[in-house]
Symmetry: C2
Subunit: 374 residues, 2 copies
């Protein structure tokens, strides 16, 4: 690992292969034990190389957050892909290209989009009814007893098959205890089941239930009430998940290695090469009430050592990160050294950095290209 | 312009060429009138194509925020480049490569970095003493009367020439009136001049003064107290600058065009394809006290029309943006249409999108690659 640290000159995504494989195996095992389909969301790693580790765990169905991402993984051989994002009418050509190539799942939450698809789709595709179970981002209101049947009716007799009801309970990210997250999971199952029940009453039988945010999927053991889970962040985890309680510090598998460029003993601050364009501007208000853009670790010969949470990233500009460092650790951060930032939101940091290096092997890995034409 | 709008299928950076050229010309004219060097910071557009418009205004010296960016613009023929970031020891090879190729300016704020450079630099380079005039990010404290001379002494007799004292008064971003920004500019000039005076007293004569954040450079008319200005954001401006008062709404030259994917009349909300990976998670707390991730505009045949600020981006996840839309405008946003987001921080959004399209011409333009190897 020391050779990896020595080779880094600029802000670099470093991923601990052992931890990622452990995080994947743990989730796959839980899904198998519950008898549900494990359809991981690949938006966090966005990498064919890391996707291969899921194949080794028997995964054959995945989730993507954009048609571009679906196309990237389809090109890598994935044959069953749900795009967990409302259908973008302006990309109907990409939808048709993908639907001809793989088993494609689409999210629909309005009759107008259902009608648009019925008119424009040229190959069979699955439709998932996107349900709002309380997050209030997308989806039909779970209490709206007419909405689901209206959409189902619009799809009838077309190339589109209503496969099930789906939700993203993103409000789990606002919870801070395992009990609260588990209660939210139970509530979500009840609400999704209610929607399925209404559809069954309207004559639409055999529909599946799909859910899966990382907090719920990390903290719940028994998924037998649903048909598939779609967690995304868990291979890497991050500070946000640790604050929720979804993971421990030792589960965080991705860090951003940043060179120390200046130290300011008078204010116990250190400036690193590593800013908003590397880490993203995502922050948490931590348990000490501070605006916190990441925790810190130092490289070791076998991996990294997390510093006490008195040391953290206190602000970010485009390329600069300002660290507030506990006096006891201050002399351990010297100009020219590397410091490792545990990202607040690993999905965002990985997306910004676009390539990474694995430890302990030192192998680089690529992600889907950031710029996609056409 | 309508053809440009019709061609967009995914979140896309759209730049109004006329506005950018006007913003550049205005700043160049002010610099000329004050008799100071205009060394614009290219971190916002990061584009050789847009850099060419500065050349047309007579600009020959530029600022970059990383060695990678300096290398990109050096390859495009720029011959005088200051890297406005503390020297990163781990990139000494890149420094030496660039110093052999262009007139390179480096920022130093510690004796240890001065000594490191003296030992390792293989071509002549300029050094700017980075001074902290109140922002508390990098730089020697302007009140520390020993620091500057210590660094100057460490450089003596080396390939490095101390060229001047430099600051980034980034605390101007916290101001909300032109008067406050102008007062901050005056204070900054006094503090930088103090540091130069101390250096002159220690025998280091003829040093230049360099400053230049966009708020100060937009709101001050007479720069004759300094030798060069280095504003960066002003070609595009953004919501943050408009809130400070650095620009009007009509000066904002960059928007992110996003497809509308779903509408929710019951909560006056609209979801767009356009999230944190396109806009960045940067937000302002606006004058109404709301967490605001961007203002909105609608495409027109000649450009765009800004909506009243009762409509705005209220939250972002990875790919989703949630808009709160004024009831009067709600029916104007339909699924399949484009909505334009005026970004909170155009530097971050441009960095994320990496390519853009100009209006009215419809020409695409490239930025420096996001992933740089070696």
């Amino acid at each position: 690992v020391k050779q990896v640290w020595d080779s880094i000159t600029r802000p670099t995504l470093v991923v601990d292969e052992g931890r990622v494989r452990r995080n994947i195996a743990r989730m796959a095992t839980k899904a198998r034990a519950s008898g549900v389909r494990f359809r991981p969301h690949f938006k966090t790693h966005q990498s064919a190389a890391i996707g291969a580790w899921f194949r080794e765990e028997g995964v054959t169905a995945i989730t993507a957050s954009s048609l571009s991402m679906a196309a990237y993984f389809a090109a890598d051989g994935w044959q069953d892909i749900t795009v967990a994002f409302p259908v973008n009418w302006r990309e109907i050509e990409t939808i048709n290209r993908l639907a001809a190539q793989v088993r494609l799942g689409l999210l629909v939450d309005s009759v107008e989009t259902a009608r648009f698809l019925v008119e424009r789709v040229t190959s069979p595709a699955d439709v998932w009814l996107d349900v709002d179970t309380g997050y209030h981002r997308t989806g039909v209101d779970w209490e709206d007893d007419e909405a689901g049947a209206g959409i189902a009716a619009a799809l009838r007799g077309s190339l589109l098959t209503l496969r099930g009801v789906l939700t993203h309970a993103g409000h789990s990210y606002k919870e801070h205890t395992a009990e609260a997250v588990r209660a939210l999971y139970d509530e979500t199952v009840v609400r999704l089941s209610h929607v399925r029940g209404r559809l069954a009453a309207a004559g639409y039988d055999g529909l599946e239930l799909s859910l899966g945010d990382t907090p719920c999927c990390s903290l719940v053991e028994d998924f037998s009430a649903v048909d598939e889970i779609r967690p995304g962040n868990f291979p890497y985890y991050d500070v946000m998940q640790a604050e929720i309680g979804s993971c421990g510090l030792d589960d965080i598998a991705a860090v951003v290695a940043c060179p120390v460029v200046s130290t300011y003993p008078a204010r116990n601050q250190v400036v690193i090469y590593g800013g908003g364009v590397h880490l993203s501007k995502e922050f948490i208000t931590d348990r000490q009430g501070r605006k916190n853009f990441g925790w810190l670790a130092l490289p070791t010969d076998s991996g990294w050592e997390v510093l006490l949470d008195r040391s953290y990233v206190t602000s970010l500009s485009q390329e600069h990160g300002v660290l507030q460092v506990d006096a006891a650790d201050f002399d351990r951060l010297r100009v020219g050294d590397l410091v490792l930032v545990l990202p607040v939101h690993s999905c965002m940091s990985a997306d910004l950095l676009k390539v990474g290096v694995l430890v302990p092997s030192g192998e680089g890995f690529e992600m889907m290209p950031g710029v996609i034409s056409g």
